[in-house]
């Protein structure tokens, strides 16, 4: 333990232990000893700055305090921390029970008092696929409407007008033109909306609704259309000007029907939520890796 001259001692095993004691001694039976160094140091620093707005003399006093604080601090931690031993008595009031020896139970085989909801969910993927499929169906309906009445680019541009406010002033002829920015904007909006709505449907349909078909083919599209109807003046005045509401509802229904179909078909899987992200990323050992688990 004569650390003072251990630098002459090439025995690294010994020094390893010492290192741990110096740097990470939090489980040793000691607590840091009281010290006046920090307050003196802090006071000095404050005075140092306060000197700027008062008098250089204040700063000078500050420097002296800082020096005293720093030296005091050093002598507190070097060559090793000054600490107080703690008594042997026990200060822990709990006993968290025996070490669990077998693999732990899982919530899916849980007793009544414990639940994770619901035990099985559809694959998240099914929501995405359903959304994309539904989105395609919806787009087809919209394009057909466009092709019959204007050109196929009409619905695309109308959707893009949600962001591109310059379209507000366009006439039908310009809106029938192909525009690359219109295409990408519309695609972006359409894709993200489809996927998100698909996901929500996937979460809701299989478990919550006793009449999923009715919900996805009628209730949801109608609700959605109504909301759109109310807000369209703000969201997309261009669309408001040209839209045909029958076709609009039709396209929503197409979405609901197709997305609902895909979601209903999907298999259910067991929920995996009691695997923590840290475990999934391998940051901490999981029960699988420990050989426990399912």
């Amino acid at each position: 333990m004569n650390a003072q001259d251990s630098h002459q001692d090439p025995d690294s095993a010994q020094s390893e232990v010492e290192t741990v004691r110096v740097m990470g001694a939090h489980d040793a039976n000691v607590i840091p000893a009281p010290t006046s160094a920090p307050i003196i140091f802090a006071f000095g620093t404050t005075l140092l700055f306060a000197g700027l707005v008062t008098n250089w003399f204040v700063s000078a006093v500050g420097v002296v305090c800082i020096a005293k604080g720093v030296l005091g601090w050093w002598s507190d931690v070097l060559p090793r921390e000054s600490v107080e031993e703690i008594p042997e008595e026990s200060y822990l009031l709990i006993d968290t029970g025996p070490e669990p020896h077998e693999a732990s139970k899982h919530l899916d085989s849980a007793t009544p008092g414990r639940v994770v909801l619901p035990i099985e969910i559809p694959r998240i993927r099914s929501g995405i696929i359903g959304g994309l499929a539904g989105g395609t169906a919806m787009a087809v309906v919209a394009l057909v409407w466009g092709a019959i009445n204007f050109s196929v680019w009409m619905p695309v541009n109308l959707l893009a007008a949600m962001v591109l406010s310059s379209y507000d002033t366009f006439d039908a002829a310009s809106l029938e033109q192909f525009s690359i920015s219109g295409l990408f904007t519309a695609l972006g909006i359409h894709l993200s909306m489809s996927v998100m709505v698909g996901l929500v449907l996937a979460m809701i349909l299989p478990m919550a609704i006793n009449f999923p078909r009715v919900f996805s083919i009628i209730v949801a599209p109608v609700t959605w259309s109504l909301v759109t109807y109310a807000a369209i003046g703000v969201l997309d005045p261009t669309l408001e000007r040209w839209v045909n509401w029958y076709w609009f509802v039709g396209s929503q229904v197409a979405f609901g029907a197709v997305a609902g179909f895909f979601i209903a078909r999907s298999e259910r899987i067991q929920t995996i939520q009691y695997l923590t992200p840290a475990e999934r990323l391998g940051l901490e050992r999981s029960r699988e890796q420990d050989g426990g688990g399912r």
């Binding site: 998100m196 996901l199 003046g233």
Partner: protein
């Protein structure tokens, strides 16, 4: 096994119903509000009159209205549509969340006959429910983003989007008054901005000292006035009348008294106003008036104030047509001889901390200089 099945089934069903009711309520409530308040209906429509809560937002006995919900230009009208949308959405969410909270507080409080020891079912969470209440807000936020982006595009001009027939006004913030310059008309005035109705106004906003912010709520949102660079803003007034505004960025002592008055005139009146303003008004006659003019020149007045044809200080408000304005000192007091006397005697009394010094004029000199000032029509 059956036991467990039943418990969790019950909780599942209940949890799902929360979610569905939530969604439907947001949808329903939002629907209702959007329909009523949204862009569907133009102002003046009886439905709006009947249902909007604007009643609180108009100032009942106010001489001027500065409510942001009373649009007076196409720009603010555009903004107001978005405002109602976001009002409706947040109001819907508000009702739902607070409703659920209050419901839960009453429904799940511990009753008298609940035994202390018995703990409720330990419910750890639920992936699908959590996914749902992540995605639904994402959808809402997505829609809000799109609406916001399009309104920004419509309302905010960039440097080279100056409308062709626009009238340019250079707005310069000073501590604590506003300077308005009309480069095309060769007019300079202070605190009171005159503009023609129905013609786009192109504002080039800047500051002579610290940051200010130009804000006339009924005509346009605010735009900061920075020293050292120009900000561009545009507005079109739709009705003649007086609009009140105020500096909206803290700029020191008298930030509170840095008011703006916008007078909207019809094209003809505006034309004659501009013509009058472009000419000097310094046509002093009469003994007191001439003496007053001397005083104005003798004391430092002329170093700070410009009077066309007499002095050209730029530090302080241009006084060339002082009496064509209804108020002075940053719009805080009515413009009349008595107030002017009090002001010149000791500005500190009226506007504490302001940048005009008391020049210690004798009562006589004050009388004279004010006699001169009131000729500046």
């Amino acid at each position: 096994m059956t036991e467990r099945g039943r418990t969790s089934d019950k909780v599942i069903t209940r949890a799902w119903w929360i979610l569905i009711v939530t969604t439907v309520m947001v949808g329903g409530l939002g629907l209702f509000l959007m329909y009523i308040l949204g862009g569907q209906i133009e102002v003046g429509d009886p439905i709006v009159e009947r249902f909007t809560p604007t009643d609180i937002f108009v100032q009942p006995d106010a001489e001027w209205n500065t409510s942001v919900l009373e649009p007076g230009s196409p720009e603010t009208r555009e903004i107001r549509k978005l405002t109602w949308l976001v009002f409706a959405i947040t109001a819907g969410i508000f009702v739902v969340v607070e409703g659920l909270l209050i419901y839960a507080i009453f429904r799940y409080r511990r009753r008298k006959n609940d035994s202390e020891a018995k703990d409720p079912v330990q419910l750890y969470g639920s992936n699908p429910v959590e996914i749902a209440w992540t995605i639904i807000p994402i959808i809402i936020v997505f829609v809000l983003c799109l609406a916001t982006i399009r309104t920004i595009q419509t309302v905010q001009p960039t440097k080279n989007e100056r409308p062709e027939n626009a009238l340019t006004v250079e707005v310069i913030g000073h501590r604590w008054w506003w300077e308005f310059r009309y480069p095309e008309l060769d007019v300079v005035t202070a605190n009171e901005m005159f503009i023609p109705v129905d013609r786009p106004i192109w504002l080039e906003i800047s500051s002579a000292d610290v940051i200010h912010s130009f804000w006339v709520p009924e005509l346009q949102g605010k735009m900061d006035a920075f020293p050292g660079h120009l900000n561009y803003w545009k507005l079109t007034a739709e009705e003649e009348g007086t609009y009140l505004g105020q500096c909206a960025e803290y700029c020191g002592n008298q930030h509170a008294n840095m008011l703006i008055r916008v007078e909207v005139l019809d094209a003809l009146d505006f034309g004659s106003w501009a013509k009058r303003q472009a000419q000097p008004a310094d046509v002093a006659t009469g003994k007191d008036v001439l003496l007053g003019r001397e005083v104005f020149l003798k004391y430092a007045c002329q170093n700070c104030h410009a009077v066309a044809g007499l002095s050209n200080g730029t530090y302080a408000p241009d006084l060339t047509h002082l009496m064509s304005r209804v108020t002075f000192a940053g719009g805080m007091i009515p413009n009349n001889a008595d107030n002017l006397k009090a002001w010149i005697d000791d500005p500190e009394q009226i506007k504490p901390g302001c940048d005009m010094p008391a020049l210690k004029l004798s009562t006589e000199e004050i009388e004279q200089v004010v006699a001169y000032l009131v000729t500046l029509k």
